[in-house]
Amino acid sequence: MIVPSIEAVATPKCLMKKIVLALVGVSLAVPAAYAASVVNRDEETHTLTVTEGGDQTRITVAKDETIQFCQSGCFVTMPNGDREVLTGSETIEIEQGRGRIR
């Protein structure tokens, strides 16, 4: 019983099946980064205004907090009044009220 199973591991067809299965598993397990994220590097809490799909929301980011938002493009107003347009894959770092896109 043992020998055939070991042989089966070695055949390319089985190997491929395993690789495909493993890949599917990995792709389901690993969250794909699609949303934009913002991280606050300042001491105080900041508030951003986000307009996405016609809805305006305000998100509050505490010190050293990272928040995911904006899945498919949005307008953001930074704490210092700068406006930016995001496509939904950026990472923003807030430093001294200014948002920098990384």
Binding site: S27, P31, V85, I101
Partner: protein, 826 residues
């Protein structure tokens, strides 16, 4: 500029050095001028490009604003219909994307401005020394530009909010339209007025007038185009008819000779004889419409009428094919349901009548709207049609289709739930029509016919897939038998293929049927595509989101990469390496290594194509590595050992190795273990780490040269020189024994019972040692026989020390003990 200066300086030095370099200097001077000119030319261009972004985006945003205004008007207007609203929503979504795109285009300029502002630093306050005027001006200019950009993004943001509201409006309006259409109550008394008949006849005359004037116009002005279109569509029909009969005829027409067709065969024939002809007809009709349209023969009114007519024809045909396929009134053995003959033909008629009435109502509705008839006429037609459909439904419910359980009884009716459903729908249609809810009644009757037909087809599809998935069903089917014959597949494979086919059919049925039903319910293609797009691109579960398309792309890329790798391997192995006469072991190593590298690269590309951030993967790998360190230690160590074996190649496939107790030929070096076949043909799978960590003997490492020893003993008293000579001769005379290193006869020992010799010969191919051993041993025995040299048995001389007493004493004590001694003496 700097480059130019440098070159100029060099140039001056050249002049000082030698006159002959004048030419080079000229070229250098030219270059310098070119650099200066380029700088002067490019600087303003750059500045122009910056200014241009704002201008361009301003225009783009203004354009979006105008488009939104126009769409808002469309949405707000009274006469807007559902299709226009769907289009408006699509347009709005596109505008929203455009806005985002324009906004993103500011990003590089914004970051440039921010960087420059950082370099300039904050404005100096009171009491500090004043800044140079240039700096103040530049800062102001940058701040102004930034403010402009911010204002424009703000404008875009406002517009996007407005788009969001409009999208909500569109959804709201569509809901209202739908409920209005269904809940609007008409005054049906108008339908019974005396003027309705007059209106009807006058409208029919108008319709006749419209059509005949069109025909006149066509025959007089557009005759050639019309003939061309008609000819082309006839050709299409001919091609479809002949091609369809030729290639699919077997699937469509049931074989009358078959006495008892299998369930799967009945289902397949029903499904294909419904779908294929309907698809062919739909294709033909749309082609015809397209041709007439393309040749410019159709004015708008006629086009609408023709479209409605074609839709009606296709639908009725589909329903007719479906019922006659499922009920098979003339061929009881091909019937899907166990229904009596009379009932089946009655049902066929009833369903056909229902489809016909609904189709008539739909078509007349179109006609009325095209020629602008009175509302009362529409109400009258629809009232009649929907009531008729309701009555037909009730009649269908009253049919007793199933044969009686015992002779002499009445046939059995439909199952209660089905009967109840049909009665309910029928009565609801009639009541709705009679109370004036004509819209609702029409909706119901159309749903019953079309959705019912689609659902029935889907149900047959599901049944077919279930039948195909049954054990051995696919192998017994005609296609299955053909495939098994052509491709030489065995039963297990066929069974798996059957399952795959069943799954495929299920998916296909849902993929085709579900959108058709949704379309039937008033959704638009645009809705469906938007949903599919959304589902395919992003599925969110909590904070995790992934895209189906991405994952599928990744898998496809991986599979492609895998096959490309295999192909490359085969090509390299078969064409390049085989021609360079490389050693098979090396070839094997290279092939395996390329296989690993290729699959790894394909996996990486696949993962990134799937949209998975590789840094995420690194994170997971980091977290897993501890677990791997403990749990998969052995596997990993074997894997790494396998790689070392491939690179270092202490042995290769085909080598004869001895590892511990295992001795045999290496068959294959895999990731985890190495396959060794012993000479008894037992396959031993040895983990790679054992081959790396312990000593491995390889008989055929660099070459297959090896030494063979054959010990032989001769009796004491033989002529040892003669023996040496004979053995030497035998060794030398064997064709497989190498002349260099020379064979050697070793006088090894004065043994217990013999003088021990050892024949040591070198063979070019150690794998042939058994053959050589045999030959030499035969030769030795023959030669010794001839020369009278004895090969002794082990001998022992026994000396008895004293006389009889001692001997008899011994015998009395243990008579058995002496037996071996006596034997030994013999």
């Amino acid at each position: 500029m700097l480059v130019g200066h440098y070159l100029a300086k060099q140039g001056i030095r050249f002049i000082v050095q030698t006159e002959a370099d004048r030419k080079i200097v000229g070229v250098l001077a030219l270059l310098q001028q070119f650099f200066i000119a380029a700088f002067i030319l490019l600087a303003p261009l750059h500045a122009f490009a910056q200014g241009d972004i704002i201008g361009q985006q301003q225009q783009a945003i203004e354009k979006v604003d105008e488009a939104i205004d126009a769409l808002a008007d469309v949405v707000a207007s009274e006469a807007v219909d559902d299709a226009a609203l769907v289009d408006a929503r699509l347009e709005l979504e596109k505008l929203s994307r455009d806005l985002l795109e324009s906004g993103v285009k500011f990003r590089p300029r914004l970051s440039e401005i921010n960087d420059r502002l950082d370099q300039l630093g904050p404005a100096r306050g009171e009491g500090e020394p004043p800044e140079p005027e240039v700096v103040v001006q530049e800062r102001q200019r940058l701040l102004d530009e930034k403010a402009t950009i911010n204002a424009m993004i703000g404008e875009a943001e406002t517009l996007s909010v407005r788009i969001g509201r409009l999208v909500d409006d569109v959804a709201q309006k569509r809901r209202e339209l739908f409920t209005n259409a269904l809940s609007r109550r008409f005054d049906i008394s108008a339908a019974f007025g005396p003027e309705v008949a007059e209106e009807f006849s006058s409208d029919i005359k108008r319709l006749y007038g419209t059509v005949s004037s069109w025909l006149n116009y066509v025959t007089q002005v557009k005759l050639r185009a019309a003939l061309l279109a008609a000819g082309a569509s006839l050709l299409c029909a001919l091609a479809l008819l002949i091609g369809g009969r030729r290639y699919f005829g077997d699937f469509i027409t049931p074989d009358i000779d078959v006495e008892e067709p299998s369930y799967l065969a009945r289902l397949t024939v029903a499904l294909s004889s419904t779908l294929l002809p309907s698809a062919a007809l739909a294709l033909f009709l749309s082609l015809t419409y397209f041709l007439f349209h393309a040749f410019g023969v159709l004015p708008d009114e006629i086009a609408q009428l023709l479209r409605a007519l074609f839709i009606v024809i296709a639908t009725v045909f589909f329903v007719y094919r479906l019922t006659s396929a499922a009920l098979a009134p003339r061929m009881p053995s091909w019937r899907l349901l166990p229904i009596e003959c009379g009932a089946s033909s009655r049902l066929c008629w009833l369903v056909a009548a229902m489809a016909g009435v609904t189709a008539f109502d739909y078509f007349m509705g179109r006609v009325y709207s095209v020629i602008g008839s009175q509302l009362s006429l529409t109400v009258a037609t629809s009232l009649g049609a929907t009531v008729a459909v309701g009555v037909l439904l009730i009649l269908i419910g009253m049919v007793r289709p199933f044969p009686p359980k015992e002779e002499g009884e009445k046939p059995r009716p439909w199952p209660v739930s089905f009967r109840l459903l049909i009665f309910l729908v029928g009565i609801a249609t009639i009541l709705a029509a009679l109370f004036g809810y004509i819209g609702f009644a029409r909706f119901l009757s159309q749903q019953v016919v079309v959705t019912g037909a689609i659902l029935a087809t889907m149900y047959i599809g599901f049944l077919t897939s279930g039948a195909i998935g049954g054990e051995g069903a696919f192998a017994r089917s005609r296609t299955g038998r053909l495939m098994a014959e052509r491709l030489g597949l065995d039963e297990g494979v066929m069974d798996q293929l059957g399952l795959v086919a069943a799954l495929g059919i299920n998916i296909l049925v849902v993929l085709i049927g579900a959108p058709m039903i949704l379309l039937q319910w008033g959704f638009h293609l645009a809705d469906l595509t938007t949903w599919t797009y959304g589902i395919a691109n992003e599925i969110r579960i909590g904070s995790i989101s992934f895209s189906i398309i991405g994952i599928l792309t990744g898998i496809v890329v991986l599979v492609l990469g895998y096959f490309i790798t295999r192909w490359f391997q085969a090509w390299l192995d078969g064409s390049v390496m085989a021609r360079s006469r490389m050693d098979t072991g090396v070839r094997n190593s290279i092939r395996t290594a390329i296989g690993y590298v290729g699959v790894a690269i394909a996996a990486l590309i696949g993962i990134s194509a799937a949209g998975i951030d590789l840094s995420n993967l690194a994170l997971v790998a980091g977290a897993l590595s501890l677990g791997i360190g403990f749990g998969l230690q052995n596997i990993v160590s074997n894997f790494v050992s396998g790689l070392i074996l491939l690179v270092e190649r202490p042995f290769k496939a085909g080598d004869w190795i001895v590892a511990g107790a295992v001795s045999g030929t290496v068959k294959k070096i895999s990731v985890r273990a190495t396959e060794i076949e012993t000479f008894q043909r037992q396959t031993v799978i040895l983990p790679n780490s054992e081959l790396i960590n312990a000593a491995v003997g390889n008989w055929t490492h660099k070459n297959s040269l090896g030494r063979l020893e054959i010990p032989v003993g001769v009796a004491y008293g033989s002529d040892v020189r003669r023996v040496h000579g004979i053995l030497m001769d035998i060794a030398r005379s064997h064709p497989l024994v190498l002349k260099n290193p020379e064979p050697f006869v070793h006088f090894a020992n004065f043994g217990d019972s013999s003088l021990d010799f050892e024949v040591r010969v070198y063979l070019a191919d150690i794998l042939r040692q058994l053959e050589v051993q045999n030959d030499i041993r035969f030769a030795i025995v023959e030669a010794f026989d001839k020369e009278g040299i004895e090969i002794p048995f082990p001998q022992r001389d026994l000396h008895l020390r004293s006389g009889f007493a001692a001997a008899s004493d011994l015998q009395a004590k243990s008579p058995e003990q002496q037996v071996p001694d006596e034997k030994g003496e013999g």
